[in-house]
């Protein structure tokens, strides 16, 4: 058994999983410590409240409220699970967006902007084509596709800037984020899509349900009653699998990843590195756009259009989702769910205990932050391995301790 275990641990994939689980664990522990400290130092809370808080941080998804005596109760809570899946949908897709870029050697910090452009395109199409003329499912599909296209176009801009002018994509992404934030506000400012029916809601755009366009639930509403979940989560999962296949099985994926891993070698091998940079940023942008489409096409979600000072956090949260999954598209389905589970746990914490929403956000942020340490932990696991076994090619790297082994060729 022990041998089997250590053989498994030699595998890179196994190490990645262990590293991610460890970092989640550390994140949760630190979250609990914060809950404890806040609980114990806050007058009117105390140890009992802190214990409740810790239980909710760890098991908030299974929380079913409080019983008659006021004790927390736990059990399968279909509404919570359904909402978790619903909120995971855009996270999975922005996570994929960041991961595709990572795999191809790019850092897509432009997901918030791509998400906003996707949002705008989706809402404009979904609300402006009357479903009385065109069947609602067709409008839905058109809106979904235009969300993807808008995101892709927005993502392609930093890609083009990098490919043609060699300007760092991080800079270009940050710029395009704020351009998108202002552009979207300008599109909706004074438009007819602002929600004027419900009083005091002028800050929002109509829900797509206003035009009868919403994502089908097809049975998910019976499994997870009174939750927002719909087939968007299935579409997100399918897209994750598609991205996995693209990256690992196709020649296009091979080409993209080779450019990402070593642009010079790829170029020399006759691969068009510029085209591939633009393409992978466009794919990344398209996925972020799809995140927005699926979120707002649910029919129940509202868009606060005055975004000019504010970038959607779901765009940035794609980064920890991708990191925690080590950019593996399949793993992103799970890490996306984990992140949204934390969100649900936070919500339960706010509703059921004295912890307010701000401290809840601090705790969640700490967990997310530490989760992203999985890379560091993986490096530590790797280091441990190097001490234990000898590396076959080590003779060449002997004079150079540490990670610079590959440069050791000319040292005698």
């Amino acid at each position: 058994m022990k041998e089997k275990w250590s053989a498994l641990m030699q595998k890179d994939g196994a190490k990645t999983v262990v590293a991610s689980l460890l970092s989640i664990l550390i994140g949760l522990l630190v979250g609990c410590v914060i809950v404890l400290v806040v609980g114990l130092t806050n007058p009117g809370m105390g140890a009992a409240a802190a214990w409740d808080g810790i239980r909710l941080v760890l098991g908030g998804i299974l929380s079913t409220g409080r019983d008659a005596v006021g004790n927390l109760t736990f059990g399968f809570n279909p509404t919570n699970v359904g909402n978790m899946l619903f909120r995971a949908t855009p996270l999975i897709l922005t996570g994929l967006s960041v991961a595709v870029a990572f795999k191809t050697g790019l850092f897509n910090i432009g997901a918030p902007g791509q998400y906003l452009m996707g949002t705008a395109a989706t809402l404009v199409v979904a609300l402006s084509i009357p479903s009385t003329v065109v069947p609602a499912p067709v409008v839905w599909l058109l809106a979904f596709l235009s969300g993807i296209l808008a995101g892709a176009a927005w993502g392609a801009i930093p890609g083009l800037v990098k490919a043609l002018l060699n300007i760092n994509e991080v800079l270009a992404c940050i710029m395009t984020n704020w351009i998108a934030a202002n552009l979207v506000t300008w599109i909706f400012d004074g438009s007819n899509w602002r929600n004027l029916e419900e009083n005091g809601k002028t800050g929002y755009i109509y829900k797509t349900a206003h035009n009868g366009v919403e994502t089908a639930k097809w049975g998910l509403d019976t499994i997870f009653p009174s939750s927002q979940v719909n087939w968007g989560i299935i579409i997100a999962a399918v897209m994750a699998v598609a991205v996995y296949i693209l990256i690992t099985k196709t020649t296009l994926g091979y080409e993209l990843v080779s450019c990402g891993s070593n642009r010079h070698a790829a170029r020399y091998a006759g691969i068009n590195d510029r085209r591939n940079i633009v393409l992978s940023m466009a794919i990344a942008g398209g996925l972020a756009g799809a995140a927005a489409s699926l979120y707002f096409l649910s029919g129940n979600t509202e868009f606060a259009w005055s975004t000019y000072q504010f970038l959607p956090p779901v765009g940035f949260n794609g980064i920890p989702v991708a990191l925690l999954a080590a950019s593996n598209p399949i793993a992103i389905i799970f890490t996306g769910c984990f992140m949204s589970m934390l969100n649900i746990a936070g919500q339960q914490l706010t509703n059921l205990t004295g912890y307010n929403e701000y401290i809840t956000d601090v705790i969640i942020a700490a967990i997310v932050y530490l989760s992203a340490f999985s890379l560091v932990i993986k490096m530590m696991l790797d280091g441990q391995k190097k001490h234990k076994t000898s590396v076959p090619a080590a003779a060449d790297s002997a004079p150079v301790p540490g990670g610079k082994a590959e440069k050791g060729g000319e040292d005698a």
Partner: protein, 513 residues
């Protein structure tokens, strides 16, 4: 006898994670001798010298100076003991003047102010005495590599070091500069200084050293008197088996020109002039044409312009009768194999597996894909065949990550991939750089085999031994231009050196081919 050993390193053992770099090594350096330290890459030479210079602490063993045990914890301790080192990659500050670099860290000061006049007098005296000509007021970035090395040597002399370590000092020098260095080293030895000379070049060791210590794979093999040995037995000691030092090849049977360059120019990234200026030559089927020259004279740009990595700014390139002056990299690859200078940058995707690297140019070919999906089985089979055919050794065969392979096997993988494409022109740039004797032997024989199959081979090399050994025709490149054409049988290293250094040039010399 023991008294005349100025430095003794006894039973030194130094481990790194997963490997013993020095395993019970003993090295005794006598007063006034030139002691060569010979070994392949990774044999532990640099590690041993780093131990002596205080950069690493050994796990076992002692160091004695004049019979007294000493502890060397850092380079300052080493300097205090009179040990100085010229590193393979110079440790100079580019924007400082030569004088500032020499006195750096050993400045004479009075009340906190530099006393440069005294320092200058001392350096000038040293430079005079040993014939080490330097311009004390020039900035290091503006002087030649040879002069930079003299600066490093003066640094050691300025600190009154008696034990001088030279780590691969000849790698960057022209033949003439090498001769000067050898003379200087002999001069030092005559004065009673002791010299440790690290090298894997047998010619130089035979010429200059008194004794040779050979290391192999971190182990001590033996110490021999130079006068009692020869190149062949030294190389056998170094490699652990008998090696073919001379390339075995018959006469070339050149055919039609495969590649023709006419008035070829490539702009420089560093300055306004052309890095390659109006170069014209032919490479014919069945010959190895070698471009010799000192590093940085336009060879890299020439090859980049030829392969399409860099845009040319004038002239024409004709490959197999087709004008490819403006063709894409992929299109040029249709008739050209290319073994790049920098195997990590251009040769391999280090994070890819061996099999993925093997199809880097070919993954779009029909046999390796079906409707856009990579045909993994075919790729693996192909990689397996190349691995066997070219004896590429790796931990896990086709699925080994390229990064984890040794330099020699990485190079073999590139060579396998490139030669198996069976293109009429093979461009090989520094194909044996940083490799050990065994791998060099193999690569040379492969290139000769390609030639004998009737392919045109364009070899760019900085190693004159390789140039003389392998080529059928030699072009010397200096400052972006071809300054001479030679038949290796009718020239020698000295003559090539004069052309490489720009001291001589042929006017419109024979490259009519």
């Amino acid at each position: 006898m023991a008294a005349e050993n100025v430095i003794e390193m006894l039973h030194i053992t130094k481990r790194f994670p997963g490997i013993i770099a020095n395993d019970d090594i003993t090295l005794q350096l006598r007063q006034g001798e030139i002691h060569a330290l010979l070994g392949e890459n990774g044999a532990g030479k640099s590690t041993l010298m780093s131990v002596l210079f205080g950069l690493y602490q050994p796990e076992a063993g002692v160091i004695k100076k004049n019979g007294q045990e000493v502890k060397i914890n850092n380079p300052n301790d080493a300097t205090a003991l009179g040990i100085g080192m010229v590193h393979q990659h110079f440790k100079l500050i580019d924007v400082f003047t030569v004088l500032d670099n020499i006195i750096l860290g050993a400045e004479t000061t009075k009340a906190g102010f530099l006393q440069k006049r005294e320092a200058r007098a001392k350096v000038e005296a040293l430079s005079e005495r040993y014939g080490l000509k330097v311009d004390l007021d020039a900035k290091v970035e503006d002087i030649t590599v040879g002069m930079q090395q003299r600066v490093e040597i003066l640094k050691m002399l300025y600190r009154d070091n008696e034990i001088l370590i030279f780590d691969e000092p000849t790698a960057v020098l022209t033949p003439q500069e090498i001769d000067e260095l050898m003379a200087t080293m002999k001069e030092f030895a005559k004065e009673g200084k002791s010299i440790l000379f690290i090298s894997h070049k047998l010619n130089e060791i035979m010429e200059v050293s008194d004794r040779v210590t050979v290391l192999r794979k971190g182990k001590y093999i033996g110490t021999v008197d130079t006068k009692d040995t020869d190149k062949q037995s030294l190389s056998d000691m170094m490699v652990g088996r008998s090696v073919q030092l001379e390339v075995q090849k018959g006469p070339a049977k050149p055919g039609e020109a495969v590649l023709s360059l006419r008035g070829f120019c490539v702009p420089s990234r560093a300055h306004k002039r052309n890095a390659v200026n109006l170069v014209s030559f032919d490479v014919r089927a069945g010959e190895i044409l070698c471009i010799a020259g000192i590093d940085g004279n336009g060879q890299t740009e020439l090859v980049h312009g030829l392969t399409g990595l860099e845009k040319s700014s004038g002239g024409t390139v004709t490959l197999c009768g087709e004008d490819i002056s403006h063709a894409s990299i992929r299109h040029r690859g249709g008739n050209m194999s290319y073994i790049p200078e920098d195997r990590h940058k251009h040769g391999l995707v280090l994070d890819f597996t061996l099999e993925q690297n093997m199809v880097l140019q070919r993954f779009k070919e029909k046999q390796f894909q079906t409707k856009g999906f990579v045909n993994k089985g075919a790729v693996r089979e192909y990689a397996q065949r190349l691995i066997e055919q070219y004896d590429v050794r790796s931990g896990q065969g086709p699925v080994t990550v390229a990064r984890s392979m040794s330099g020699g096997n990485q190079q073999k993988a590139i060579i396998a991939r490139e030669l198996d494409r069976e293109k009429p022109l093979v461009v090989a740039v520094q194909p044996t750089r940083g490799l050990d004797v065994g791998a060099i032997e193999y690569i040379h024989s492969r290139l000769v085999a390609e030639r004998d199959k009737g392919r045109a081979v364009l070899l760019v090399s900085l190693e004159l031994d390789e140039v003389m050994n392998l080529s059928d025709r030699i072009l010397v490149m200096y400052e972006g231009e071809i300054v001479g054409e030679f038949d290796p049988k009718q020239t020698d290293v000295q003559e090539l050196g004069l052309y490489m250094a720009g001291a001589k040039r042929m006017e419109k010399g024979g490259h009519s081919a």
